[in-house]
Symmetry: none
Subunit: 214 residues, 4 copies
DNA sequence: GATGAATGAGCGTTCATTCAT
DNA sequence: AATGAATGAACGCTCATTCAT
């Protein structure tokens, strides 16, 4: 957490610092990101930096966590129990929103792209971004089972992990290609299909009762 | 490629150097890995290092590529057309073998773990580890379709990417936990199930004909 | 150009650094000059050096250019059109002043001695010391012709080059020998004679009209 | 001087080594020239190098001095007393021959170009290339005076130095430009004119007697 | 005599962080 | 609180020369 001094700063300055830092962490992974460049770009004295933040990581942590908090705040309504959506539809909603967020904040998206690739950071992260995300998926899975959208015998621990990684991969897949209009939602649909039914060819099938599907 | 001088070295020394380097690259991602530490640990003069290798990357590349070549050599027989195995069974065989390899060479496994997370390196890698792996998956998918093991309408480009990443994730999942006997093959089974059928609950089903399944 | 930090330094320290650098660059040509020695002699931390200067060349360039600027400032008044002096007298004035400068700043003289011998550096030098000097001689020659002090048919391109090199050689000649009082100005006179009349013996001559000489 | 072992080598090998060394010293000034590259290009073992030569300088000295000896051997006939040529004509002959030599051996020419710019080497040079050249010019000047081609009162010490440097400068001037046919001899003529008569405009002159010119 | 591996001091440079004012 | 100069260990790498066989 940044020191109190940072929060006492006039908002404009605070914003300038954060913006510079975001640009730096978007352009470079944590280790290669340079405090000197952040300082120069934000126009503060190098001594001041350490009056606001314990060290480079302190600032980094603040930025990434702010982003995740914001993301969570945006995604939370979509998983509210009131909404009468199947597990997979909810998943799709979450993805649509995530992608919107990513498009709105490409800098922050780039930062978390770097973060996901850095084991050391991921485990250093105080509030545990990874474990929070895993927890989130775990809860979703449990609910999905309860709702009858998912097989009952899935390994929740394993599946939440897979879903987490899968999400990140799809994100990467989308981000690395220039997207035509709606192209990315088609990819999301493909991922959902993959999750729902897999890729194995089924035998000829007669669906007798399907009362559980919504 | 290391220089000739390296290959002229007595095997014992060569092994000592490779071992030290593997330890270093297993402990740290490429950028953080220190030539000085490798030198110290292998007990050679710093000048010697550069008699053997063009630079740090030269050694790194040699180690990673040797590992991938060895892996390929071990996996190649499993995908031979003669073996009468379904797509998913083949996948499982590949996984079993990969895991065995990883258990035998935990250092090398750790190194490729780092490599997979390093975009810059991945694209620098001369023989294109990533694109080779993707190509491999692409071919497997095509064959799977031909054999009637897979749905006909899957997006090969996307699916090969997903399978590639999924594989790495499962690997990571397994590696990060101490394994009980056979625990890891159970995880592999779960992944195969996930791939094959997904996690969506199907309606009550009567399979009338299933002639395509082997 | 050194960074701002350098110019913000207390004068004493700044001077200490410049002096150490001048000593180094006077003792060794650029490539052999050692940043480590400059650092040690000036008693600064090695990190500080790079807070003040972009790199070794930055400092070198600053020192040489400062010297050339100073030299130019000192020599400029001597070529002002108002002074009613012949080409050769002006040349002599310039030489006298140059030598005075060299005697006052033997270190800087030694540095430019090295510089003149370094083709690569000469061409890297931002403001083009060599081409500026050649331009200077070219202009002087043109004026000398206009004034009727020089033959009309000389090859200005070639002659300016020769004069430039001649000047450097004479400088070297003088610098390499310990000088008695006024000895060096006698050498300059000899050079001027050489330039003016050459060393060829003329026939017995009756000068009938000499209206062009001043 | 190279060690005896070098001279015991089969001529072919000796020549290969010398050629590689010449290429290296032509491409780089002494300090930047790399023993490793010479070794590689000549295909000998690095240990062998030091069995043939004391060190890098030993080889360098051998090459430069061989060149100067050869040059002297070529130029010597031109200054023989029997030839009935004026001082300046002899000078021109010497230049013509020097240039021919330079065109025939551009590598060696490049090497001496570097050598002339390196004070330290010049003074290290055992047999004293510089002082021998100066001695050569001194003798020529003395003879020129005796023959009545030169003014009697020139400072031989100074003038020989100037002539030496002037020669090198003209060489450089010529070498740096691509030469049209005969262009370089025109430059030599200009230099001789410069030496003979200088660039000062003479008054209107009536030459009464010119019995001393040949 | 030939080989080629071994040596190690030295290079210029970086950078997060601390210190003094 | 703000400044910005100071720090120094560490980095990857070079190279003429020596040594062991």
């Amino acid at each position: 957490m940044p020191k109190e001094t940072f929060f006492n700063l006039p908002e404009k300055k605070r914003r300038r610092i954060i913006k510079s830092a975001e640009e730096e962490f978007a352009a470079y992974p944590f280790r290669q990101a340079s405090v000197a460049r952040i300082i120069k770009r934000s126009g503060i004295a190098s001594g001041s930096f350490y009056q606001y933040f314990r060290d480079k990581f302190d600032l980094y942590e603040y930025i990434t966590e702010s982003f995740f908090d914001m993301k969570l705040r945006r995604l939370a309504p979509l998983i509210s129990a009131e909404r009468d959506r199947s597990f997979f539809d909810t998943f799709k909603d979450l993805y649509a929103e995530s992608l919107k967020l990513a498009r709105e904040n490409p800098r922050l998206e780039a930062i978390s792209g770097h973060l996901y690739r850095d084991k050391e950071l991921l485990s250093r992260q105080l509030y545990g971004i990874e474990s929070r995300a895993l927890g989130f998926y775990r809860e979703m899975l449990k609910r999905g089972i309860r709702q009858g959208d998912l097989k009952k015998d899935i390994d929740i621990e394993f599946t939440s992990y897979i879903l987490f990684k899968l999400g990140a991969s799809v994100n990467e897949y989308i981000m690395e290609r220039t997207s035509l209009k709606n192209w990315d939602m088609k990819i999301v649909d493909r991922m959902i299909d993959f999750m729902e039914d897999g890729i194995g060819k089924k035998g000829d099938i007669i669906t007798v009762v399907n009362k559980n599907r919504r």
